[in-house]
């Protein structure tokens, strides 16, 4: 939710708000995650991550202003838009045929208006939040939505066959939305209709049929309350997510329906009114009062869940800050929560409200008492042991993706179309080949890898597999001790079967889970490496380390690792040492010429020592 700092200040506070960063910081500590704050056109926009629990009441400037007032203790002072007009008798009929999908619908006819451009203040308010100003009529509906969180809509009265609005389900078919796009509705989707013509997908998007334009003179205003699940299902299926659908699917209080109608009416009169404008009475499908909600909580319960020692008076003080009415009997509070706080249902919800306002930083850290050691997880114990043994025998552990091109369990919505299956086996051949290509770079004699992980089979069950791959057949079986037979250079073993047969374990102590300082990662080059071998005759009395040091000293900064001895043999009082040298740049592909020059340097240094390159 993007929120304008100026909007909050001008519409909801007489006192000056603290600087925007301070406001954002306070919201972060007591209410919401802040995605960012951006200074923009003399205003500041706060990007607030309002999650579903507070999307009922805080997807609006007013909701956010209430939070700011609450947590910073700045008096909330809402400005109202005034307009002068008289109501005349209503000529509109509203027929809600699906009462369980629309429990309130208010319509109102206004005649003889003039659709103008929005005034600068309104344009600024919308544009700073990244909304495009269309005209004063459309902008007014968007403004009401962003201000108090209730979506509204406007239809062109002259495009209706009769002065009637029906809220009904559709029998399906093509629907032309605003801006010429067409979507296909399904039987049962809720629509706003006029006779046989469908005007809007309820709560989601308006249609072309009764779209307002610059020429519109007479209008019907809509403020409705649509079923959250119905709106959500239709909007998801159509892939149309709008500011409006977002508010409806998160459900907000029905008390906003009449308020938004009056608010929108005043704005429209002010922005588009003429001396001939006629405002009819609103037609309301259902005038039921919103039921008052009471939630009980005891101070003792709050203290026992938070681990604090608040007095009744401190709890009362927090409810006072919310401005909530309550009765107190002993340490039990009966709290009358306001209409808009649909999220508050039970004592735990009030515990959270008290906790976040009291401040989580003020909750003391309480030591968890000692607890007897629990039974040992046999699977983890043996998996860890097996890993330790494999590492000792030169294997490195890899993790590969769970998603593969061929398997048994297919996902209906995979991330990548080329990998729609969950793996049914662990195939290491591809990563093995990659690592073999990099053998010189890695400085290993042989690539030996393994992975232990879950695989998934047709009926939805899973297995724990060990897969390993080596270049050569293993001379000895390192996993003998676990009764695992490693015969070939590539194999998979069902570890659950193996572990089941192994002795039970009573303690983790023997795992030697010692702490080691975590090694820091260094970015590796994305460019190819170049390998060169050099063999040099040294006198028997000269240690090979001298040659190593000389190579390292002249190889320059493109040398990847210390030169590796790959061959050695003695003849006639001399020893030939062959070293493999690997070069790589972090910035580019090296050319033969560049590497050749480095090798020339090394060779001339060798010659200067009086040694002989073979």
């Amino acid at each position: 939710m993007l929120v304008s700092y100026t909007w909050l200040q001008e519409e909801y506070f007489d006192n000056k708000l603290p600087a925007v960063d301070e406001v954002a910081e306070a919201l972060l500590a007591h209410s919401f995650e802040i995605e960012g704050v951006e200074e923009k056109d003399g205003d500041a926009v706060i990007d607030i991550d309002v999650l579903p629990n507070r999307a009922h009441d805080c997807l609006s400037h007013r909701g956010i202003a209430r939070e700011i007032s609450l947590i910073l203790g700045i008096p909330f002072s809402e400005k109202t838009v005034e307009a002068t007009f008289e109501n005349v008798e209503a000529t509109l009929r509203v027929d809600v045929q699906e009462k369980n999908l629309c429990n309130r619908y208010i319509g109102r006819v206004i005649k003889n208006i003039e659709v103008k451009d929005s005034p600068d203040w309104l344009k600024r308010r919308l544009e700073v939040l990244g909304q495009r100003s269309i005209n004063a009529l459309v902008d007014a509906t968007n403004y009401v939505l962003l201000d108090i969180g209730q979506p509204t809509h406007v239809f062109d009265l002259d495009k209706l066959d009769e002065k009637e609005i029906t809220v009904r389900t559709t029998r399906g078919g093509e629907f032309a939305t605003l801006g010429d796009d067409k979507v296909v509705l399904e039987d049962g989707d809720l629509v706003i209709a006029n006779k046989d013509n469908e005007l809007a997908i309820a709560g989601i998007k308006g249609g072309q049929y009764a779209e307002v334009t610059k020429e519109t003179k007479n209008i019907v205003l809509e403020s409705g309350h649509f079923d959250p699940v119905a709106v959500r299902k239709t909007s998801r299926r159509l892939g149309i997510l709008t500011d409006s659908s977002k508010r409806f699917e998160n459900e907000h209080t029905i008390a906003l329906t009449p308020e938004a109608m009056e608010y929108l009416t005043r704005l429209v009169v002010n922005l588009c009114g003429t001396s001939d404008t006629i405002v009819e009475y609103a037609v309301d499908s259902n005038k039921e009062e919103v039921e008052e909600k009471k939630v009980l909580v005891e101070t003792g319960h709050i203290n026992k869940l938070l681990g604090v020692t608040l007095a009744d008076a401190e709890v009362a003080d927090i409810f006072n800050r919310f401005g909530w009415d309550y009765q107190k009997m002993g340490d039990e509070f009966t709290v009358h929560t306001p209409d808009e706080r649909l999220d508050i249902d039970n004592a735990a919800d009030l515990v959270e409200e008290v906790g976040r306002i009291y401040g989580y930083k003020n909750v003391p850290s309480l030591e968890l008492p000692l607890f007897e050691k629990q039974s040992v997880n046999k699977e983890f114990y043996y998996v860890t042991k097996i890993k330790q043994v494999l590492i000792e025998s030169g294997f490195s552990e890899v993790y590969t993706q769970s998603f593969v091109s061929k398997g048994e369990l297919e996902m209906s919505n995979p991330v990548g179309k080329d990998k729609p299956y969950l793996r049914a086996s662990i195939d290491l051949s591809e990563v093995y080949d990659m690592n073999v290509r990099n053998k010189d770079l890695l400085g290993v004699d042989e690539v030996k890898i393994f992975e232990i992980g879950k695989v998934f089979v047709t009926d939805g069950s899973e297995k724990l597999l060990l897969s390993l791959k080596t270049e050569k057949k293993l001379a000895e079986n390192p996993l003998e001790v676990f009764d695992i037979h490693v015969e070939s250079d590539a194999m998979s073993i069902d570890l659950e079967e193996v572990i089941e047969k192994l002795p039970e374990i009573v303690s983790y102590d023997e795992l030697y889970l010692e702490e080691v300082e975590p090694k820091q990662y260094k970015t590796y080059s994305a460019y190819p490496f170049v390998t060169r071998d050099i063999a040099v005759w040294l006198p028997e009395s000269t240690p090979k380390e001298e040659l190593e040091a000389l190579i390292q000293g002249h190889a320059g900064e493109l040398l990847v690792r210390e030169p590796r001895l790959v061959d050695e043999y003695a003849k006639d009082g001399k020893v030939s040492y062959a070293y493999r040298i690997v070069f790589q740049s972090l910035e580019k592909t090296l050319t033969d010429k560049e590497v050749g020059e480095i090798m020339k340097n090394i060779e001339s240094a060798v010659a200067e020592k009086g040694w002989e390159v073979r």
């Binding site: 209410s31 579903p52 869940l305 959270e352 890993k387 991330v415 969950l422 990662y521």
Partner: protein, 235 residues
């Protein structure tokens, strides 16, 4: 000369986490990676067709009704609690570690499958509080990072806890979101057969990949799953 191999940094982190929590008396219990939607969502207070389901994009499986690759290790909470209740083993402390799956576009900070850890403790009301949760997380973070760690709790929303908190750690000059936690929601306690008037619990979830990245200075989550020894052999 025999060369030793290298252990994956995620394994190093997981083993460390397991050492820390088993020492605190938490029992390690892996749940399945394919879970029922009931365990993964409904019993955790995330009803069908509720916007809270969008917080985690779910993979669906062809031909298997009602089961999904779990989106969170929290899926193991209710089955474990029910088992403990049936055995009369209360209070209890449990933790679980394993892969979870989210249908998200991948980038340097997002993988569609990654490792998560879940912690859960249930006891008589009053014996287990948000204050105890705070201490547990402080202890965990201090031991994982090997020294005092600056940590803060701020309001967060996870449907299966109430109050819910996000936990940030001050790392490399800024606050980094490290885990989510809270007191077990009364509805979840009830779903597992515990009377919320009598019992309370705390729960927390940790992104193991993020923890590993912070410990080892790794800047791309995807490096872990490429099977590339240029990465693994550094550790």
């Amino acid at each position: 000369m025999k060369q030793k191999g290298h252990i994956h940094p995620l394994t190093q982190t997981i083993e460390d986490v397991i050492r820390i929590f088993t020492n605190m008396g938490f029992e390690l219990d892996f749940g399945p990676e394919i879970e029922t939607q009931e365990h993964n969502f409904d019993l955790l207070n995330v009803p069908k067709d509720h916007p809270a389901r969008d917080m985690q994009d779910t993979f669906f499986l062809k031909g298997i009704e009602g089961s999904i690759p779990r989106t969170q290790t929290s899926a193991h909470q209710v089955p474990y609690m029910r088992e403990k209740k049936a055995r009369g083993e209360i209070p209890f402390r449990m933790f679980s570690i394993g892969r979870v799956f989210r249908n998200e576009a991948t980038d340097a900070t997002h993988e569609a499958s990654f490792y998560q850890m879940e912690g859960l403790a249930v006891d008589k009301k009053g014996n287990i509080t948000l204050g105890h949760l705070k201490w547990t997380l402080e202890t965990f973070l201090r031991e994982t990072f090997g020294g005092e760690v600056k940590m803060r709790l701020r309001p967060g929303y996870f449907p299966f806890v109430e109050p819910g908190v996000e936990v940030d750690v001050f790392f490399g000059g800024r606050w980094v979101e490290m885990l989510g936690a809270g007191m077990v929601h009364p509805q979840v306690l009830e779903n597992a057969g515990f009377d919320p008037k009598e019992y309370a619990g705390f729960a927390f979830g940790v992104g193991i990949d993020r923890l590993m990245m912070a410990r080892h200075g790794v800047d791309d989550v995807r490096l872990s799953y490429q099977g590339d020894l240029r990465f693994v052999n550094q550790f």
